[in-house]
């Protein structure tokens, strides 16, 4: 199998100050193989592919591409050698057209008209519809990814690297992507596929190399293992299953009726008569592809944006015209998606950050003066209860890793014992251990009688946590369905199906 491998890595090592990102990593990718690179955040997957793509140089070891030494000095050299990469973030230019974006990713792009013709050709061959003259800013996430893929395909790569490509796609768009990858694999292109979505890897990849703390811990055929086994290899030990028991829906806590609001900026989404009901002890999951009104809905619920009278009722009291402080005092709390800059002030200490949302509810501010010892004690409580790894409450928020800060931000709200908590993307970019802790804390909060709204783009998370599920699509919220028995297909249709393909209504 590894005879005549497209890419072979032997003993690759890379150190950053204080971190050994990769250590003695060896693996091989065969032609026509979809090879998964599996691991938690910080396991060294990104560093490894950056070395293959010439963005980072390895300290030790060597790589062979088609049997020849592969030491790209920069991405151009890697591309010339036949390596192409689809990035998870930041590699498209919003203000430029599709054709210009593709030209920037090529060494010797043909003249504009010829390039447009080739884009049309490739997009037809692979069933990826795309208009070369559209500006990227007007495209959906799925369409943007098509741009990146076509940019890679035009170079006829021998090895295609994909970094968490499905994190922004609806299930239908993901299916389309896998169909493309299989066509490519059938043409003997090797594909290196990074993900931590286990089910996806199990159903689509031929081989998996599992990384933990920068080292290869295992290599297997993912189809022959259960998702549980793979997760255990990834985190090095059994995952504690989530405990969903002991909750029952009580009285209605939060009612949202006919909530409409115009888009606050040109890039934002307008909310269109959103309605929902949340009971005590219940977790309501709200799914949707990014940019369909998630941030705006959170802002409307938290009080950052005030609403028309009578649209938001907490236990019968009308909170619509109140700001965030007053809503917190009434028991409606929120934790936004962006940890640094929205949920927390990066340069403030953890103590100061607790003051920002917990001042009123925890009595940390009296007569306009800050009770520092109380604030520090509360920060310390959050740190202890949520296992936040930090030297102490006086550490600046920005010094914490993403997962630890997320635990702190969620913990700060949970420990104020809210009546209703609204969270947006509670485990985005957080490793599996911390994500499980955050999810369990939300379940525990609901068990204690609070209502929880989880807005997330991670469908597995929503299926795991929520009792009822609804989808946010272009600012409209669908009617909720019980999560039990809901299939991914149904959810995909609720989310709007594949963008640019067919829009389904439910």
């Amino acid at each position: 199998m590894t005879e005549g491998a497209v890419l072979r890595a032997e003993g690759i090592g890379k150190s950053y100050p204080g971190v050994r990102a990769n250590d003695d990593v060896s693996f091989a990718v065969a032609p026509g193989e979809i090879h998964a690179l599996l691991g938690e955040n910080g396991a060294g997957k990104s560093t490894l592919v950056k070395m293959i793509y010439g963005l980072v140089r390895p300290d030790d070891g060597r790589m062979l591409l088609n049997g020849r030494p592969h030491q790209p000095a920069d991405p151009r050299a890697a591309r010339a050698a036949g390596v192409a990469m689809v990035f998870q973030h930041f590699s498209l230019f919003d203000a430029l057209t599709v054709a210009e974006n593709i030209a920037l990713g090529m060494e010797n792009p043909p003249p504009r008209r010829a390039l447009s013709a080739r884009i049309a050709q490739v997009s037809q061959d692979f069933g990826l519809p795309l208009n070369p003259d559209r500006r990227v800013v007007t495209l959906s996430a799925g369409e943007r990814q098509r741009v990146e893929i076509i940019r890679c395909l035009l170079q006829n790569p021998r090895l295609l690297i994909m970094d968490e490509p499905t994190s922004v796609l609806t299930p239908q768009e993901a299916e389309l992507l896998f169909a493309t990858l299989r066509k490519l694999a059938a043409q003997r292109t090797a594909i290196l596929y990074i993900s931590h979505k286990l089910e996806e890897i199990r159903s689509h990849c031929d081989r998996a190399t599992i990384l933990r703390h920068g080292r290869v811990v295992d290599s297997c055929d993912p189809r022959a293992h259960s998702a549980r086994d793979l997760a255990a290899m990834m985190v090095g030990g059994d995952m504690r299953p989530i405990d969903r028991s002991g909750r029952q829906a009580g009285e209605v806590l939060l009612q949202v009726k006919g909530l409409s609001q115009p888009a606050p900026t040109a890039d934002a989404t307008a909310l269109k008569s959103v309605a929902l009901t949340l009971r005590a002890g219940e977790i309501l999951g709200i799914g949707g592809v990014a940019g369909n009104g998630q941030d705006e809905l959170l802002a409307a619920l938290s009080g950052e944006i005030r609403n028309a009278p009578g649209t938001i009722l907490l236990e019968g009291a009308d909170l619509s015209r109140l700001g965030p402080e007053a809503r917190r005092a009434a028991g409606l709390l929120a934790a936004p998606e962006d940890r640094l800059g929205h949920a927390a002030v990066p340069d403030f200490s953890l103590t100061d950050n607790t003051l920002l949302t917990a001042g009123a509810r925890k009595g940390l501010v009296r007569k306009g003066l800050i009770d520092r010892p109380a604030a520090r004690a509360f920060a310390q409580d959050v740190i202890r209860a949520f296992d936040v790894r930090t030297p102490g409450p006086e550490t600046a928020a920005k010094a914490l890793s993403g997962g630890n800060l997320q635990k702190f931000v969620i913990g700060r709200e949970v420990m104020q014992a809210p009546r209703v908590l609204v969270v947006n993307q509670p485990t985005w970019g957080v490793d599996a251990g911390a994500a499980a802790a955050v999810r369990q804390s939300l379940l525990d909060l609901a068990r204690a009688g609070a209502g929880v709204i989880v807005i997330s783009q991670d469908l597995d998370e929503l299926l795991e946590l929520s009792d009822r599920f609804c989808a946010l699509n272009e600012g409209r919220l669908s009617a909720p369905l019980p999560t039990q028995g809901l299939t991914l297909d149904q959810i995909g249709l609720m989310l709007g199906g594949a963008h640019g393909m067919e829009v389904a209504h439910l």
């Binding site: 140089r57 991405p75 930041f90 498209l92 919003d94 430029l96 920037l104 500006r135």
Partner: protein, 295 residues
């Protein structure tokens, strides 16, 4: 009365300094660099150009020296912002103050002498006016049709993506800053070597700031810069004519008209653009942001 053709020719001359400076700043900003040092680079060019023209007796040499001096004085700004990651706004302001002070100091011996003149080009306009008009389509073509221009726009739109694709963000930006400096230098020298024919301290009189405003007004396009420069130049010429005709409006009001008109148009344009991010082109995505590559 005022002859429209003559007025238009005067307008062309009056708009040339800001046209050069704004075109240079346009290229820098499309590469993602906000350089508020335009005024400082212009005055440096004005002095260097005047001194070179005076000593050599050749105005062409003056303009060459002005371009070189403008690019050179922009280099400290480039080093500060691209290598030391200094704040671009503060560094640009420092560049303006530095240029104004430096020119005032070294300009002392130049006071009171006269610059050599050169034969005018077609329609009695200075050759530099024609060069400026030629630069508009050239820069448009460079930005929108050439490979190098595409890379420059890519760097300005999203420097992380450009870096990920293997482009040298810093090198592109330093080249753009130097080009911006050279253009501002020529613009400044046009005032001292082609129109006033003398050196006076602070003679650019805020033209660099107007150039910066015009880049915004232009929506970051070369034809837009030309329109902005003509608007400013047109109002300047018109108010001078009105002053000469002895209109009963206070001189102070007339003198401030070009600046006022530019600001009013800018405000109107930004108000219109606020809600059309998806429709038109707006500021480059990485404008004014520091780029730091992790290796």
């Amino acid at each position: 009365m005022i002859d429209p053709v003559a007025l238009f020719l005067m307008l062309l001359t009056a708009s040339t300094p800001i046209l050069f400076a704004a075109l240079g700043e346009l290229v820098a900003e499309r590469a993602g660099v906000l350089n508020l040092g335009v005024e400082g680079m212009m005055i440096t060019g004005a002095l260097a150009g005047f001194a070179a023209a005076y000593h050599s007796g050749n105005p062409v040499l003056g303009f060459a020296a002005a371009a070189l001096a403008g690019a050179l004085i922009a280099l400290p700004f480039a080093v500060l912002t691209q290598f030391l990651l200094s704040n671009q706004v503060a560094s640009g302001l420092a560049l303006t103050l530095f240029g104004l002070g430096l020119a005032a100091l070294f300009g002392k011996p130049m006071e009171g002498v006269k610059a050599p003149t050169m034969a005018p080009g077609p329609l009695g306009l200075h050759w530099i006016v024609w060069l400026g008009l030629l630069m508009v389509p050239l820069i448009w073509w460079f930005l929108n049709r050439s490979r190098a221009g595409l890379i420059l726009r890519g760097v300005g739109e999203n420097h992380d993506a450009a870096h990920a694709l293997g482009y040298d963000v810093r090198r592109v930006r330093i080249a753009a800053i130097a080009f911006g400096g050279a253009m501002a230098g020529i613009g400044g020298a046009f005032i001292s070597v082609a129109t006033v024919l003398q050196w006076t301290e602070g003679m650019t009189a805020g033209a660099g700031w107007i150039a910066l405003a015009i880049v915004v007004f232009s929506n970051w396009t070369a034809p837009g810069v030309l329109a902005g420069a003509w608007l400013f130049g047109g109002v300047t010429v018109l108010q001078l004519r009105l002053q000469a005709a002895g209109v009963r409006v206070p001189v102070q009001l007339l003198s401030m008209a070009p600046y006022l008109a530019t600001i009013v148009v800018l405000v109107a344009i930004s108000a219109r653009q606020k809600f059309s991010r998806r429709a038109g082109s707006t500021a480059p995505g990485s404008l004014g942001q520091d780029f730091h590559a992790l290796r």
